[in-house]
Assembly symmetry: C2
Homo-oligomer: 192 residues x 2
DNA sequence: CCCCGATTGGCACTTGGTGACACAGTGGGC
DNA sequence: GCCCACTGTGTCACCAAGTGCCAATCGGGG
C-alpha cells in the first residue's frame, strides 16, 4: 500500500504548493478553499478528503518543525539539563529560519496577524508540548519533594516554547537582528 | 450615554447567563447561536450585535480573570522580582478556582477539549501577555548586555502563563490535588 | 402628537464543513 | 473476457457561522 500512500503524499504536496502560493499572494483568510481546489484541479469535496481544512495546510508544516526539534533534543547528551538542551534543540530551526528569512518572516507575521490561524497556533503548542515534554521529563531530577501529578515537564517545555515564540515574533518584527541572540536573551532571562 | 451602556451590559450579562447554561448542558460546539438567541429572547442577528461570536462569551470571562491578575501584580511591592511577583499575582485566581471548583474544573476541561475554543485560548494568551508584560518589564534588571528589541518581559510573562496553564490542566485532571501546590512546583521547576 | 435616531428583525448571501449517493478506473479471481 | 470489490472523485443537499442591507419599530425630546 506504499504506492497509494506515495500518490496521496504527492497530491498533498501539490495542493499545498498551490495553496501557499495563493496565501502569499492574497493572505490566508482571503484565500477560499474553492480557489485552492480549482488551482489544484480538483473539486471542493475532494480537497476535504486530503486536508481536514485550510488550517491543516499550515499546521502540517509546523508539525514538521516540531519533529525536527524532537529529533534534535533526542540527539543531545542524556545528562544535559533540560533548559540548555532545549536551547540547543531549537538551534537547527533557528538557523533554518535565518537562512530562509524571506519565507520565514512573512510566515511568522501571518501566524501573528491572521485571526483564522489562532487555533492553529494553539494546536501547534499542544502538539509540540506533547512531543517534547516526555523528552524533557528525562532530564529533570528524578527526586521530587511532592507527591501527585508531575507538572514540571509540561511547565518547562511550555516555558521554553513561550521563549521561542517571543524570540520569533521579535525577530519577525525587527529585520536585521539575529534570531539566535533574541532566543538566548529570552531563555536566559527566564532561567539563568 | 452611561444609561445606554448600562442597558447594554445588562443584556450582555443576561445573554451570557443563558449561553453558559446551554454550554454546561450540551457542550460548547453543540450549542448553536440560534439556541442562545432564542433562549435570550432575541434574534440571531441581534445576538451578533452584542457579541462578535460564540467565542466572545468565553473570552470575556477570561479577560476578566486577566484583569484581576494585572491588578494583583500592580499591588505587589515594586522591588519584588518578576517571578515571585507573578506567582503571587496568580494566587487570587488560584483561590477563586479552588473555591468554585465545581464550575472551574468543567470549564478548564471544556477549554482543553473543545477544538472550537483553541483560537480563544490563543487569544487569551495574547491578551494576558499584552497586559502583563509591561508590568513584568518594570521588575527586570534595567541593565541589559545586549542591544536591540527586548524579548525578556514577553518571554518571562509567557513562561509564567505556561506554568499556570500546566498547573490548571493537571488540577482539572486530578481532583483533590491543590492547585496552589501544582503551580508552585511548576514555577519552581522553571526558575528556582 | 410627531419626528429623529437608535435598536431590532428579517432576508439574502458567502464561506467552511459534512453526509449521501452515483460513477469511473483498477486489479484480481473465475 | 467477465464480474467483483475497492478506491478515488464529483455532484448535490444540507447545516452553522458571519455579514451587509433595508424596513419596521420603539422611545425620548421638541
Amino acid at each position: 500500500m506504499t504506492l497509494r500512500d506515495h500518490a496521496r503524499a504527492a497530491v498533498r504536496d501539490e495542493v499545498a504548493r498551490h495553496a501557499w502560493r495563493l496565501f502569499a499572494q492574497q493572505g490566508f483568510e482571503a484565500t477560499t478553499i474553492d480557489q485552492i481546489a480549482e488551482a489544484s484541479g480538483m473539486s471542493r469535496r475532494t480537497f476535504f478528503r486530503y486536508f481536514t481544512g485550510k488550517d491543516e495546510l499550515v499546521l502540517s508544516r509546523l508539525i514538521e518543525s516540531g519533529d525536527r526539534i524532537g529529533d534534535a533534543l533526542r540527539a543531545r547528551p542524556t545528562d544535559e539539563p533540560a533548559w540548555p538542551a532545549l536551547r540547543a534543540a531549537f538551534q537547527h530551526l533557528v538557523e533554518l529560519q535565518e537562512e530562509h528569512a524571506d519565507v520565514a518572516r512573512p510566515l511568522q507575521l501571518m501566524l501573528r496577524d491572521e485571526p483564522a490561524l489562532r487555533a492553529t497556533q494553539q494546536e501547534r503548542r499542544a502538539l509540540w508540548t506533547e512531543l517534547l515534554a516526555p523528552l524533557v521529563a528525562q532530564r529533570l531530577s528524578a527526586r521530587r519533594r511532592r507527591r501527585g501529578p508531575d507538572t514540571r515537564a509540561v511547565a518547562v517545555t511550555g516555558s521554553a516554547l513561550a521563549c521561542f515564540d517571543a524570540a520569533q515574533v521579535a525577530w519577525a518584527e525587527n529585520p536585521g537582528v539575529p534570531l539566535a541572540a533574541l532566543l538566548d536573551e529570552a531563555m536566559e532571562s527566564v532561567s539563568a
